[in-house]
Subunit: 274 residues, 2 copies
């Protein structure tokens, strides 16, 4: 993570931030965050990220003190980002990497980091999925619909990267990524009440409706049907789309080209949105 | 919360702590904590609290950087507490209140606060339980066995205080408290795989085996059987035992005297342990 950060629009040094200002976030995980890709100094799909963050805050007004609404305006975050990039020669106005907005205790914290060391390799080689965590979620529970600072369940499963399934034996998502499979001629992703995170890239793909004539749809995804998938990718805001060349022991060589095509598609969509 | 705190045994001002030193705790809820009662400057059941905290850290070495083991020795925490109490005239060596140890990022943070404003009233009047959250937990899931900084699920339900139940329609616990009911002539609390937190007061009561000839046992507790309970209390380290004069619409007037008797019993046990 870079030392240049911002709190409530003000550029600061990470080392100077006080735990005091983020106490409820620390002690109780009472806060939300969102992570977005920055290309050439510009955040991708920033408005969507901010709408989701604001929606999570609006759904938890009793328990999380939200930053002032103006701070969550895209223009305000763009300004803040610009100031951060200008302030730090390690960043600069053409920065490529990852931004993160964390909201707790009435504060909005912007932090920046380079792409993960394996981001490039993930694009080329994809990532196998080897395991299922059965009953990780309960159908229709709402907490996975919010990206909260109480993130340990996801965080502790990031290395293993299992498919998180619900008690109905339906696939829900991966830790920190949404799941898509090519099934019956459609690109299928589980519905929000599976449950899963309303991921920004997931929403971008669903909104686009189709890719190369293949419909992109929300649909319950029984684990038993994963064996019939022709391809599989997972999406998140950092890598956009990652191919799954092997899904629970089934080789899916088409996944890598599908992921590459989706990344292209997503970047084209990004160029038409703020 | 008092301004006098300690990090890794060193007395500090809360306002001077850096978010930097607790980053994984803040961003990912990657850490654990325990909260204990302090009577006359002495922490109750400190060794048990530290054993549970150490066990949670030992079960998550991949994902949470633990403080050095010496810091989790009872003698070390007692020393640190003594230094904090001596350093702050608002505390003093005879302090009554609540201590909290939070472990993340290789650091152990001790914070102190007065008893909650309603603690006294809870002892006299108890607290009604009005609701059940069905399917809040999955039978045998392990995360509720650890008191983690990813505490938002509990934190956001503290006001409503529902019985958290699993998918088998068994009662598990309350947010931040263990549940006991007087049923078939025994004082019954759900087993750890319900799941529930291995609460320190819960363990103290189970270890004691019985109270006034009534056995204290772990046993699965179907929600349907709560209507047959003759009394109900909940336990935690802050208030020890709180009577439930009304459980899901059933008046249980004996709960208050049972809670008072349990507090007496727990304090007697405390005087025999370090």
């Amino acid at each position: 993570m870079f030392s240049t950060v911002a709190v409530n629009g003000e550029v600061k040094r990470w080392e100077d931030l006080r735990l005091h200002d983020f106490a409820q976030g620390f002690f109780f995980g009472a806060g939300f965050f969102t992570t977005f890709r920055i290309e050439d100094g510009s955040p991708l799909f920033l408005s969507r990220h901010l709408r989701r963050l604001a929606a999570s805050l609006a759904a938890h007004t009793d328990t999380v003190r939200a930053p002032s609404p103006q701070l969550l305006e895209p223009a305000s975050v763009r300004d803040t980002l610009r100031h951060c990039l200008a302030a730090d020669p390690l960043l600069g106005p053409r920065f490529h990497g990852i931004g993160k907005l964390s909201a707790s205790d009435g504060h909005l914290l912007l932090t920046l980091r380079p792409h993960a060391p394996d981001a490039e390799r993930l694009q080329h080689e994809g990532r196998a999925i080897l395991a299922v965590e059965h009953g990780a979620y309960r159908h229709a529970e709402t907490s996975p619909n919010h990206k909260g600072l109480s993130y340990f369940r996801q965080f502790s499963r990031m290395q293993q990267l299992p498919v998180l399934a619900n008690e109905l034996a339906h696939a829900c998502e991966l830790p920190t990524a949404n799941l898509f499979v090519l099934l019956d001629g459609a690109l299928v992703t589980p519905p929000l009440d599976a449950p899963c995170l309303p991921g920004v890239i997931r929403a971008v793909l669903l909104d686009s409706g189709s890719i190369d004539g293949v419909p992109i749809v929300e649909q319950s995804l029984p684990l038993a049907r994963l064996a019939e998938a022709r391809a599989c990718v997972f999406t998140n805001a950092a890598v956009l789309a990652t191919g799954v060349p092997s899904l629970l022991g089934h080789a899916l060589p088409e996944s890598l080209s599908l992921a590459a095509r989706l990344r292209e598609h997503i970047l084209a969509m990004a160029s038409r949105e703020d």
